[in-house]
Assembly symmetry: C2
Homo-oligomer: 245 residues x 2
DNA sequence: TCAAACAAATAGTTTGACATTTATATGTCA
DNA sequence: TGACATATAAATGTCAAACTATTTGTTTGA
């Protein structure tokens, strides 16, 4: 019926006003907020209060603060990477385990292939995916394992991006980012890596042929497979695969 | 190659130490941090610096601060609701539209039904779903429309919870919460509502019979349908269905 | 021309004071 | 004794003024 009110704290009020200004577009990325002193005059509060508001806004992720002569609080571009990082940070405090992430990822990617991509994908996208696999193989030949890992994830991220659905892209990237840590701590064996390349190629081929349903199945089981391998290997190395991230 | 270092700011250091303490479990939910004065002595900094750290931690969502006699900074329980809220806040600053949310939701729920639920669901779960529909119908008869809406969403949230996968549960709830605002601004017509009840019942029946694939399809199209209705109605009322949330 | 010194602007921090809020203890009166 | 008012104490909330540290632009001098 009634909603609880809580007046208190001027810094909160300032935070809200700034957030709204950004939301409205009155403050655009790279815009500079007035200096702490000026903000104090504008809002009629002391520098201390302004600084507290700035700390909140900074933690919220909407501004960056630089020191020095041309320093100050600058509105941050809320790009994908920033949003993913923020969400990732929040999720780290929840009790999420690798198997949960893996399962979610497998399911989301299947939907990406089966439902979300068909109306969007172009031959150019397929070419880009193929290039990605080629690059990953090159990295593997050159023994650049972290680069290879990164490129491999790039394959899946590219798939997500084809959907042009920011919700899907973001959720997928959050999951991939949080998962990647586990991959980095497991040495990849040759058959494992080559199987990955083969399955990636198979997926692209199916996509080119318009066999989205089949591509989705291959992808689902590909991710389930790889994740199972990671879980097994992690257990051997007694890593905390089932503990929180 | 190299990773950027950025020392500066004692409050940052304090934030990190507190976060780590919480992560380690040295600080559990409902624990009280020392008072600002004491923290100042502990870390060897002034109260102002402590307060800035506290504002960051508060915005991060890991503490709540109460004023007054038994006041202070208390470690917050990072429950599902809190995590969902945090992520929702972040997502509000991204350029997400209702159709994106709806599509993502339809896909995720199909996967929930097809892939994630079958190994988990029990007859008791089905009973709970049926009860939910009954309750929603009761609300509808009593003309309690917001209650009905809330209960209807509860049906889908219950489905997600059956997976026992926190990643899925969280992502789903974030999407539902962000979507709900659009539903609230559209008057529901009788045929629309009754169709929803019918489809919910159909889904439960299919689940009872173990026809998960079919249940998934029904659910997918149910959500797609309802969302399309919302989009159309919103356009009539010239709501910002395609603007950011 | 280049480098060192300087100047200006801005965030980072400290200190000390006072205001406000809230739970609890204390006191007073019926 | 019980209920209500009042005082008290322990927090957070806010302010003001100064000092420090850092960054950047500008001037100066060899």
């Amino acid at each position: 019926m009634f909603t609880k009110i809580k007046q208190n704290r001027m810094s909160e009020d300032i935070v809200n006003q700034v957030l709204e200004a950004i939301s409205r577009g009155d403050l655009a990325p790279d815009d500079k907020l007035p200096s702490e002193k000026e903000l104090g005059d504008i809002f009629g509060v002391s520098r201390v209060t302004i600084r507290e508001a700035i700390r909140s806004l900074e933690q919220f992720g909407v501004i960056v603060v630089r020191q020095g002569s041309r320093g100050g609080a600058y509105v941050k571009k809320m790009d994908q990477e920033a949003v993913v990082n923020q969400i990732g940070n929040v999720l780290k405090m929840a009790n999420v385990t690798f198997p949960h992430l893996a399962m979610a990822r497998a399911s989301i990617e299947r939907e990406i292939l089966v439902e979300l991509i068909p109306s969007k994908i172009t031959p150019a996208d397929c070419d880009r995916l193929t290039q990605n696999i080629d690059l990953a193989e090159a990295h593997y030949r050159d023994r650049e394992s972290t680069e290879r890992l990164h490129t491999n994830f790039g394959f899946h991220t590219t798939l997500a991006r084809i959907t042009e659905n920011p919700v899907i892209i973001l959720m997928h990237k959050v999951i991939v980012d949080l998962s990647s840590h586990f991959f980095e701590n497991v040495e990849a064996t040759t058959p494992m890596v080559e199987k990955t390349f083969a399955q990636h190629r198979e997926i692209v081929e199916l996509l080119r042929k318009g066999q989205f349903q089949e591509a989705g199945e291959v992808c689902f089981h590909h991710i389930a497979d790889v994740s199972k391998t990671i879980v097994d290997k992690s257990k051997q190395q007694s890593l905390l695969v089932s503990r929180r991230i």
